[in-house]
């Protein structure tokens, strides 16, 4: 059945088929059971689990599926990437943590100098560095160009002052890439630079932000007179806005891979519906429930089709235009609907979030996944911003 195999069977060539078998075997053998329930609900791993997973993939030579071979990547074709992500999804394997691998890594190998490449890239692959992202600020969320964190050149250092917001995993990171204003004059987008910081530099302090799912994913980061060596500047001073935009586009691209994971959430929801009892039998045998699940499955197939076309176009060197933004919009909407459906199927079991008192939740993954899904239409440019971007860039409105 469609959801238990990959769509790619439609026209895989023998080499790709062999690759698929290899990947499938790897995921089947190596995905820890402890990850599965959590991953299936659309939740992220614990940080130490992310590190362990990355080290496992790196050991297999698959630490950077989307990077060129030159920097330690796999150099895979889009078809291979699609197979890799499909099979990961099928095995309830987690995604890799993306802020080093998919965001700053490619910026470093594209715009960084030789020293920066040598210093940082291997430690991303090996997961010895954990990078966090210093983009948003309290008054610069979707309107990133309004950022006000300042970096003033002083000898061979920049002195950085300001506040970053929504810095995911700053509490476990040892590195941070940061958009700062190096020139306070001129247009909002001008005068922004991209700096690399070490989290243990004096003047960096972190305040946790607890989110609706009762998890500590994210933080405020205060930068108070932080002296950053000028050698940590990426590319040219004042060109950070351009690098930042490349990076935001890449962040949306990451969603294409994540989209393949919607099947995980669908499987979870289907299993929950099969397990749920009503006075008439299994909830999944209720035609209305089955119909609603079918609608979600159908929408996921359509979105996967968009991902396949995007990957195929990438393979033939064509620009897919706004489709990455479209996929981000639809993926987040569907993740929300599927996890909502899943929680609904649970009936009164969904009332069990945590123990009495102020203890931590007892791993109520579907409910946490449903709550977490709300942020996927906000982060990386809210869906309203994505629609603005599509209207302007692609539709010419």
């Amino acid at each position: 059945m469609l959801f238990d195999r990959t769509l790619m069977d439609l026209d895989l060539d023998p080499a790709d088929r062999a690759f698929r078998d290899e990947v499938r075997a790897f995921f089947t053998e190596n995905t820890p059971d402890a990850f599965k329930a959590r991953v299936r609900a659309g939740m992220r791993l614990e940080p130490h689990e992310f590190v362990a997973w990355q080290k496992l993939l790196h050991a297999r030579g698959w630490g950077a599926p989307s990077w060129p071979k030159e920097y330690g990547g796999t150099g895979w074709t889009p078809t291979q990437l699609y197979i890799f992500e499909s099979e990961a999804s099928l095995a309830d394997a987690p995604v890799q943590y993306h802020q080093g691998l998919e965001l700053i890594g490619p910026i470093i190998f594209t715009f960084g100098n030789a020293e920066q490449k040598a210093r940082y890239l291997p430690r991303i692959l090996s997961s010895d560095d954990w990078w966090c992202q210093g983009y948003s600020e309290p008054n610069a969320g979707s309107d990133l160009a309004s950022l006000s964190t300042r970096a003033v050149r002083d000898g061979d250092c920049y002195v950085v002052d300001g506040q970053k917001m929504w810095t995911s995993y700053a509490q476990v990171a040892n590195r941070m890439f940061c958009l700062v204003r190096t020139d306070p004059e001129g247009r909002k987008q001008a005068g922004i630079s991209l700096l690399l910081l070490d989290i243990d530099m004096p003047g960096v302090s972190i305040r946790p932000i607890i989110t609706m799912d009762e998890i500590h994913h994210t933080n405020e980061v205060f930068l108070d007179n932080v002296r950053v060596p000028a050698a940590n500047l990426i590319g040219e001073e004042g060109q950070g806005w351009g690098y930042g935009k490349v990076l935001l586009d890449r962040e949306r691209g990451v969603t294409a891979a994540t989209t393949m994971r919607l099947r995980q959430q669908l499987r979870g929801a289907r299993a929950a519906a099969a397990q749920a009892r009503t006075s008439q039998g299994a909830l999944l045998d209720d035609p209305v429930t089955a119909d609603r699940l079918a609608q979600l499955e159908i929408e996921v197939i359509a979105l996967e089709g968009m991902v396949m076309r995007t990957m195929a176009e990438a393979a033939s060197g064509k620009d897919s235009g706004p489709r990455a933004s479209m996929i981000k919009v639809r993926w987040s909407e569907l993740l929300q609907e599927v996890t909502e459906f899943w929680v609904e199927t649970m009936g009164y079991d969904a009332a069990a979030f945590g123990p009495i008192g102020n203890g931590a939740p007892t791993e109520p993954w579907p409910m946490m996944g449903m709550l977490y899904s709300r942020v996927t239409s906000i982060y990386g440019g809210a869906n309203e911003i994505q629609r603005n971007i599509i209207a302007r860039r692609a539709l010419g409105l």
Binding site: G141, S142, S146, M212, A276, R277, I356, S377
Partner: protein
Amino acid sequence: MNFELTDEQRLLQDSVQRFARDHYDFSAWRARTGRGVGFDRGLWKQMADLGWLSLTAPEEDGGLGGSPVDTMVIMEGVGRALMLEPFVASTVFAPTLLPRLAGSERTELIAAAMAGTAVVTLADAEPDGRFDLAAVSTRAERTAAGFRLTGEKSHALDGAEADWFVVPARTSGEGAEEAGITLFLVARDAPGLAVHAIRAMDHRRNASLSLDGVEVSAGAVIGEVGQGFGLARHAVDLAIVARLAEAVGAMEAAYEQTLQHLKTRKQFGQAIGSFQALQHRAVDMAIACEEARSMTYLATIAVSSSDPARRQTIAAAKARVGQTSLYVARQAVQLHGGMGFSDELAIGHYLKRLVMIDLAFGNAAEHRRQFAAARAA
């Protein structure tokens, strides 16, 4: 056609609002939930002293004999302030069910419920029955002294705080038959009763129950033996209507805070409420609030009527308030951006409360099904 509150109801509304302002602002709420405190007995005593818990108790038992509209007035305030106390237990289940108690503790218990010293709730569901109130497989065997109860209950609203549980059990019949269900009052400390207390995502503290040969006297019967379904149905319908008012209070608060946010939050050099797409979203939220309030009025009027379409109206209202309130709460989070997703604003907590209100006594999909079934009947 009259949807106006009486002068007394307006005073009650003011009293609830004042109480919320004085004792229940969001920072106080957050401090309490952060300390893991659910039910605050001190506040609860004050609410009892204000007469809220006597409002709907029968006059012959010292209550005020109030109507579902009175409950609606309180519950809107409860929703607005995200209050954590067991109002539905005390203003719906206790005054509806205790007066039918066979035994002599009736007067004493009603007095305790009104004073806030006893919380009585209903265990409305079983693990294999989902939301079907008639799907009772808990068995009540007759004993010399009364009955012995054995079975599982998957939900009792505010059950973690309850001193007494009303437990539907089968004295005859099987499956999901309505006949043969009897309601029993069971003390929390009854031997053989295990109360599995759990915190829900909205910080309310419910329970599931295991009854392993719990002995009760004949006086523990509520209503008539074998005739408990109708009574439970009526109590749950009243509870549903009360929860709808709570939902309306919560969703309107989330909507109003969002409207305020749209007017004050600036991006790209202007208030985000100047962007047309967000304006239209806010309008759709406003329409959803109007629909939910209208539906809640219809159901609140219907629940104490003899209208044969009574159950249809209640099912329709439960379904539509569930849908519209979740729409509003989700959009409220979305329009607040990252902050809407944080635990530090009330917005996310409104969403969580509304998810739980939609769930309790059957969600929107279940009530659409019930509506269609009642249509076809």
